[in-house]
């Protein structure tokens, strides 16, 4: 039987998953997935600095400080890019470890006995989320994380709905968006602010690594399932929820980290899609290649026979055993193709000699005339 706390944890994780999916889809379409990694680390510095100002670990200023730091990270990366001294991926790799290092040093020097530590931020402690409750007038209004994660989810949802057209245009054709006056830079920074807010609001509950997993893995899986932006958002939200819930139970069974198990399940979901996606999955690709190979071989066979029916050499050329010599087919492959061709009524076999049916002749001629 599921306890209330267990249900609450799954609901919180699902809220986070959907909030992350909403911004994650745009991150991966805009080729900025690694920015989520950078931001989810540097917001720690924002939290620490805001904590020094407010001296309180629950102040909403922490959220603002973190969001500002996220935007600062993006700006610093862009500033470095603009010097043209390093490439974009290098600037990401330079900026976020530096800011993260400052945060870690500040924490270990000045905030040793307060409850911010790197472990909690990186790894999250979802199991404790149900214990921080909102209580008003003696009534229990559920865990605090409902409101923080739910609020961020609503914010992201509003942003995506209100600016759907702008986001779409800025993502797929930024030049056109700029020409039409849609201010892609503004959209870009708004999106990055939301990524930071989502990272902060979520990692209290789930840790920064899970934020990255939720922002990248479900949208990537959804990207392999559809070509339509709205569907991609929907699928990625569903995959996110599935990973959150199944990850929770995996953690329950193994008695292991909840965030780690959920990240593992986002990976498992992606792997499943990567293998079995109807059009873009590995198996579908292999099947398509196999079909193309057979189709091509059938055409080759009909053309080969058609080429040699008239001549005397028909006897030499058109025997199954000779196909491996003339078409460079292995005996097994030749048998397989001849079998398929017979079943498709392209050829017929008489005493080991192959001749084209009417149908097969048509196919060969079609190819000759093409």
């Amino acid at each position: 039987m599921m306890s209330l706390a267990q249900l609450e944890i799954q609901i919180i994780a699902s809220l986070v998953a959907v909030a992350c999916s909403l911004v994650g889809v745009f991150l991966i379409l805009r080729r900025m997935a690694m920015m989520s990694d950078a931001i989810s680390h540097t917001v720690l510095l924002g939290i620490v600095l805001a904590f020094f100002v407010t001296k309180s670990i629950t102040s909403p200023l922490l959220l603002i400080g973190a969001a500002l730091m996220g935007v600062l990270t993006v700006s610093l990366v862009e500033l470095l890019n603009r010097t043209q001294l390093v490439r974009e991926d290098t600037s990401i790799g330079l900026v976020f470890p530096a800011l993260f290092s400052i945060a870690v040093i500040l924490i270990s020097r000045f905030a040793g006995d307060v409850h911010i530590d790197n472990d909690a931020v990186l790894l999250g402690e979802l199991a404790f989320a149900p214990f921080n409750r909102v209580k008003l007038f003696g009534l229990d209004f559920g865990p605090e994380a409902y409101y923080s994660s739910g609020g961020i989810l609503i914010l992201n949802l509003l942003f995506v709905i209100l600016f759907y057209k702008e986001l779409k245009l800025a993502t797929f054709d930024s030049a056109l968006a700029a020409t039409l006056g849609f201010a892609p830079t503004l959209i870009h920074y708004a999106l990055m602010t939301l990524v930071s807010l989502t990272a902060v609001g979520s990692f209290n509950a789930v840790g920064s690594i899970l934020v990255v997993a939720f922002m990248v893995a479900p949208p990537s899986a959804a990207y392999l399932l559809t070509d339509k932006l709205s569907r991609m958002i929907l699928y990625s939200a569903l995959i996110g929820i599935f990973s959150a819930v199944s990850g929770y139970w995996l953690a329950n069974i193994l008695d292991a980290s909840i965030a780690g198990s959920m990240a593992t399940m986002t990976g498992a979901s992606f792997l499943t899609v990567y293998l079995f996606a109807p059009e873009r999955g590995l198996f579908a690709q292999a099947k398509r290649r196999q079909n193309q190979r057979i189709e091509f071989a059938l055409t080759m066979l009909t053309m080969h026979i058609a080429n040699h029916t008239a001549a005397q050499e028909a006897e030499l050329e058109n025997e199954v055993v000779h196909l491996n010599e003339h078409l460079k087919w292995s005996p097994q492959f030749a048998m397989q193709i001849v079998g398929i061709a017979e079943r498709m009524d392209l050829i017929q076999q008489k005493e080991g000699l192959l001749t084209l049916t009417e149908h097969g002749l048509k196919r060969a001629n079609q190819e000759f005339n093409a």
């Binding site: 997935a33 990401i92 870690v104 990240a263 690709q285």
Partner: protein, 375 residues
């Protein structure tokens, strides 16, 4: 006094000496191999690999029940390798871009490692203690034999790097050409990536997962500013890495509660910052001066060109033109009189009478010389 004490400790204090030596080895190896990663546009690969190594470390422990560094390093190596191959196969077979593949592999492998780690920690025997130092790195826990292991593995990696130097250079800058010459590009690619994985795994215990990526990217990015030669860049990268490693160790040893890994990374960041500022030719300051000089040259040429145009329009008369005319022709009228005086000093322009300016013979020749090229 304090510095002397610190230097004394560096050579005679066991812990400090061990840690400094370990950090120096790490800096040299990651700086050298990082140069290739940065040039091959794989800066963030280090980030992904260092995260992906975690499940390998835990699995290696789970299977062997041993905490020998060499076993854990081997586990990390295999996991980092699997992650890299997985990433490359995603990029090759789907339309998912490299940044998403990196983020995906990084977070999922790390999450998986975390799950395994917490699972292991709840097993009855408590010998797993210390595995989590790989998360954040605890340089202070380095033992002499850890450093010896690091030294041997690092030396092998650098030896391989120099053995395949020419080949690696070729596949870094022109893989197609390398292929057309018959080099086994795929094999070399895997070998170079493996060496990078080795460098990363070496550093996990010292600086931890998150900061290891900086040790790959930063020394190389700093070295790149100073030179256009691969061999100089690799040597400089190793040198910068070693300097950051040792100075970071010293600084963190000089005060309480200064974790070594982050301090090393900050030292490295400072080196990068100054390299980007002051490196000759590429540095920002150098660049700024060059821009200023070019701008000034262009302004002078503009006035020269205007005078030349005026001279062509009035071919048969020796006459001067007032500053107002020249100002109206110029995009920056405020500089015109200043420039005229400079040109006069150079003997290219003369003031025929008051406020009547014209080219001298030398100025005419100079103008024809300059603007003929453009025509």
């Amino acid at each position: 006094m304090e510095i002397q004490q610190l230097l004394y400790d560096l050579f005679f204090d066991y812990t400090l000496r061990t840690v400094a030596l370990g950090s120096a080895i790490l800096g040299i190896v990651s700086g050298a191999l990082g140069s290739f990663a940065v040039l091959r546009k794989q800066s963030l690969l280090g980030d992904a690999i260092s995260h992906a190594a975690l499940p390998g470390i835990v699995l290696a422990f789970l299977i062997t029940r041993s905490r020998e560094p060499i076993v854990l390093i081997l586990g990390a190596l295999i996991a980092g390798w699997v992650a890299t191959l997985f990433m490359l196969s995603i990029i090759r077979t789907t339309r998912i871009k490299d940044d998403s593949a990196l983020g995906l592999v990084l977070s999922v492998f790390f999450g998986f490692g975390l799950m395994l780690l917490t699972f292991t920690q709840k097993l009855p025997d408590a010998t797993q203690a210390g595995l989590d130092k790989f998360l954040f790195g605890q340089a202070a826990t380095l033992l002499q034999r850890d450093v010896i292991t690091m030294g041997i593995i690092g030396a092998i990696a650098l030896l391989l790097l120099s053995a395949f130097w020419k080949e690696f250079k070729l596949i870094t800058f022109d893989p197609e050409y390398a292929g057309s010459l018959g080099f086994p590009v795929r094999f070399l690619d895997v070998l170079l990536t493996t060496l990078l994985v080795i460098a990363i795994v070496l550093g996990l215990q010292t600086v931890g997962v998150v900061l290891m990526s900086a040790m790959i990217v930063a020394p190389a990015a700093a070295a790149r500013q100073w030179t256009n030669h691969l061999n100089k860049m690799v040597v400089l990268g190793g040198l910068f890495g070693a300097i950051a490693g040792v100075s970071g160790t010293l600084i963190s040893g000089s005060a309480e509660k200064l974790p070594t890994g982050p301090v090393i990374v900050l030292c490295m960041s400072i080196i990068v910052f100054f390299s980007m500022l002051i490196a000759p030719n590429r540095g920002l300051i150098w660049n700024w001066f060059r821009t200023q000089r070019n701008r000034k040259l262009l302004r002078i040429q503009a006035v020269l060109a205007d005078l030349h145009t005026l001279a062509l329009q009035h071919p048969n008369e020796e006459r001067g033109h007032p500053i107002a005319t020249l100002r109206s022709m110029n995009a920056h009228p405020e500089f015109v009189s200043l420039i005229l005086n400079q040109l006069k000093e150079q003997g290219l322009v003369q003031e025929l009478s008051k406020n009547a300016w014209a080219l001298t013979q030398a100025g005419l020749a100079e103008a024809e010389q300059t603007f003929k090229k453009e025509a």
